[in-house]
């Protein structure tokens, strides 16, 4: 992928006219074919776009608010073998994302104000906004609370010990007490390690057949229920990330109905992929026919190892319904790049996680094509709703900073290592053809990607 297709936040503000494009803006609930103007990096009345500005034929294209990822691992600072802010932000731009929230499990971890500031100082020339998520505990060790207020002052937009949950109820309660005062959410990777045990894939018939230790859904539900109770008691915001079970979603739904300040997200892979993929199946959850479509040569592939593990079809479809009805606030990628050497090992030894920044929109479009989501619901879950969770404005109102993705929902592309801007290629979607091709990404008024 040529670097020339990418722009940077330090570039000059753009002026352009998108003519006859389907503009989907969840901010004002609009969905109409019209012209969309950008002048000097701001959304403008199309009539005011200078005649010298670039004009793009938007026929067949969709323009939407730039995508916002609440959950990505950019591995920076780190050894650079899997990803850097540079490569990860280009992957984001390629995928239509204009904001990426960077998880703190870096090396060293982002657990203090100085480290938040150090990242913030290095992201100015990235190809998307990078927002910093701070660690909840010192060294992410789950023992002592980090200085959450100081990190907030340094720019952290949320806090998480992602990779695991805050291990004890008492510590989580302490964290929420501080976070309530600074109006930041605790982003929880809900997993009870005791219940998860040695599980490396979701407990179920496929795990039984493959002889892999099963991960029980109770491992997620236990922490979700604990955190919902804490949010209810403290009034502080809890955001449950990468939900993978219908049971946890049901718990969130009923908590929301009681007015508990909770939000949640799901990954594209938990919507589309199932535990059958570990056995070599490569059909999306909504396409599964029950027939055995397993390809033995793809079984036990390290790229299907992820935490929480891929779930059964019923869970995936329940989560899709949760996105459609708004019970799930956001689709977040949990983009987790790993070098090939960490995946080219037996399944249970593979590093958990897969990349998602460049395929999230396409997987979502596939769900739309399958009739599981309406396009505006998909856009809202990828842009305006996650942005609101970190307090970032989103929407295409005239006068706002231009943050736009333009994509062709009909066109298709093949996922190959060469087609990816990420430094990593660990996704089981590799080799597959997906719908939805990003044509233009504009972040903070600058063109950051052209396809």
């Amino acid at each position: 992928m040529s670097a020339g297709r990418f722009g940077y936040l330090t570039d000059a503000p753009a002026s352009l006219l998108l003519a006859g494009v389907r503009v989907v803006d969840p901010a004002d609930d609009s969905d109409a074919v019209r012209d969309l103007g950008i002048v000097d990096g701001r959304i403008a009345d199309p009539g005011t776009v200078p005649s010298t500005a670039e004009r793009i034929d938007g026929h067949g294209l969709v323009a939407a608010p730039g995508l916002c990822d609440l959950h990505a691992h950019l591995r920076d600072p780190g050894d650079g073998s899997a990803e850097t802010i540079s490569s990860g932000s280009r992957a984001a731009a390629h995928g239509g994302f204009t904001t990426v929230c960077a998880m703190p499990n870096t090396d060293p971890p982002t657990d203090g104000a100085d480290r938040v500031a150090a990242i913030a100082a290095r992201i100015a020339d990235a190809s998307c906004r990078v927002r910093v998520i701070g660690a909840v505990t010192v060294d992410r060790a789950g023992l002592a609370l980090a200085d959450l207020a100081a990190m907030t002052a340094a720019g952290a937009v949320a806090f998480s010990d992602d990779g695991g949950a805050v291990p004890s109820r008492a510590l989580a309660a302490d964290a929420l007490q501080v976070l309530a005062g600074v109006d930041r959410a605790l982003i929880e990777h809900a997993e009870d390690l005791g219940l998860a045990g040695a599980g490396v894939m979701r407990f179920g018939p496929t795990a039984t057949r493959l002889g892999l230790p099963g991960w029980p859904p109770e491992a997620e539900l236990a922490v979700v229920e604990r955190d919902l109770a804490l949010a209810e008691e403290t009034g502080a915001r809890v955001h449950l990330t990468h939900l993978s079970t219908a049971a946890a979603l049901d718990a969130v739904r009923s908590a929301k109905a009681r007015g508990v300040p909770v939000t949640c997200d799901v990954t594209p892979h938990h919507l589309a992929l199932t535990d059958a993929w570990v056995g070599g199946d490569r059909t999306f959850a909504w396409d599964a026919t029950g027939a055995d479509q397993t390809e033995p040569s793809l079984a036990y592939h390290g790229d299907c190892r992820v935490n929480p593990p891929l779930a059964g079809r019923a869970d995936a479809l329940a989560l899709l319904a949760g996105v459609a009805d708004g019970s799930i606030d956001a689709i977040a990628t949990d983009h987790a790049p790993h070098p090939a050497s960490s995946k080219r090992v037996p399944f249970e030894e593979a590093a958990p996680g897969l990349i998602g920044l460049e395929t999230a929109l396409s997987v979502g479009v596939a769900a739309v094509d399958a009739g599981r989501l309406a396009l505006p619901e998909l856009i809202a879950a990828l842009s305006t709703r996650p942005a609101s969770i970190i307090g970032e404005p989103r929407g295409l109102a005239v006068g706002s900073i231009a943050d736009v993705v333009v994509f062709d929902p009909q066109a298709r592309w093949r996922v190959t290592a060469a087609a990816l801007a990420s430094a990593a290629a660990n996704t089981p979607l590799l080799g597959m053809e997906l719908p939805g091709v990003v044509r233009l990404t504009v972040a903070e008024g600058r063109v950051t990607y052209r396809g």
């Binding site: 039984t208 002889g211 040569s297 080219r344 037996p346 249970e348």
Partner: protein, 312 residues
């Protein structure tokens, strides 16, 4: 059969699991194993695999499987190299794929792989050009054990179609159980598993399988019984109660075997914990096929090596 007989083509280049083999393919393989037993005694086929170099890569301890593969390969004239994991670079932390690629570059054509991780042979197939024979991977599969068990059973109780076989013990952690469930079901056997609930968990959703939660129910009317090795360190971790409880509720003995069909034989993949999952009297008594299982290991593995190489 003679060395000059036309080679039967097998669609299988590897033996990773037996679940992809058809009934005809399994039955042909067992017939070939019977021929191999005779040809081994007659020292025929001593150059059948002379072009092959077989690497034994055992990442877990093994006596029966490793020795029988080595003897099988040598009986067919193959060059055999034992990786001796603890003395090799694998012992220094070299990755499995790197080690296998090294074997391949040195001229090994077939790897016989034993590994503690389920799916390790799939990785070997994906990442190397080696012919891969699974000699046991984690909890997943042990296909040559299932083949020799099927041969042993067939020779003891006749045609297997419609027979009822009970597999008793720690089914959940057993690659032997899984491969036998596939192979025996393909051969028309009705199957039942029995064990403490933690050791049969998940198997209630295994297609066509009956799950028994008491030993009496597991054995009831069985035409043959397969005992599995109890990994004594695992019993506590899995919360199945004490070893004493297990012995009281699940140990096979001659009296309890009365529940099964008259003269129903007993199998065990070995090594046995006599007194834990099976009494010494039963393991060494007239019902026991344990010795026959070991004897069938070499001819079955000769048949597998020859068939996968397309030479028999």
């Amino acid at each position: 059969m003679t060395v000059d007989a036309p080679a039967r083509t097998s669609p299988h280049r590897h033996l990773v699991d037996i679940d992809t083999w058809s009934r005809t393919e399994i039955e042909d393989l067992l017939s070939l194993a019977v021929e191999m037993r005779a040809s081994r005694a007659a020292r025929a086929h001593r150059s059948l695999l002379e072009a092959e170099t077989v690497g034994l890569a055992f990442y877990e301890p093994s006596t029966r499987t490793r020795v029988s593969f080595e003897l099988a390969a040598k009986a067919l004239g193959a060059t055999v190299v034992d990786l001796a994991v603890e003395r090799s670079s694998a012992g220094k932390g070299e990755s499995l794929v790197d080690t296998l690629r090294t074997l391949e570059r040195t001229g090994v054509t077939t790897v016989v792989l034993r590994h503690s991780a389920s799916g390790a042979p799939h990785l070997a197939v994906r990442e190397t050009g080696l012919r891969v024979i699974n000699a046991g991977d984690g909890m997943h599969a042990h296909p040559t054990q299932a083949l020799l068990d099927a041969l042993t059973l067939r020779e003891a109780i006749g045609p297997l179609d419609g027979k009822l076989v009970a597999i008793v013990g720690d089914v959940a952690h057993s690659r032997v159980a899984r491969s036998n469930l596939h192979a025996l079901a393909t051969l028309g056997v009705r199957l039942r598993v029995g064990g403490p609930s933690a050791w049969v968990a998940g198997f209630e959703r295994w297609a066509g399988l009956e799950v028994a939660t008491t030993l009496a129910a597991a054995l009831d009317g069985a035409d043959a019984v397969m005992a599995l090795r109890v990994q004594t360190e695992r019993a506590a971790a899995d919360g199945i109660g004490s070893l004493d409880d297990h012995v009281r509720d699940w140990r096979l003995d001659e009296t309890r075997m009365q529940r099964a069909a008259p003269d129903a034989p007993i199998l065990h993949p070995g090594p046995t914990n006599e007194g834990i999952e099976i009494t010494a009297a039963l393991a060494n008594g007239p019902r026991s096929l344990i010795g026959r299982q070991v004897e069938n290991g070499v001819p079955v593995r000769m048949a597998v090596l020859a068939r996968l190489a397309g030479l028999a």
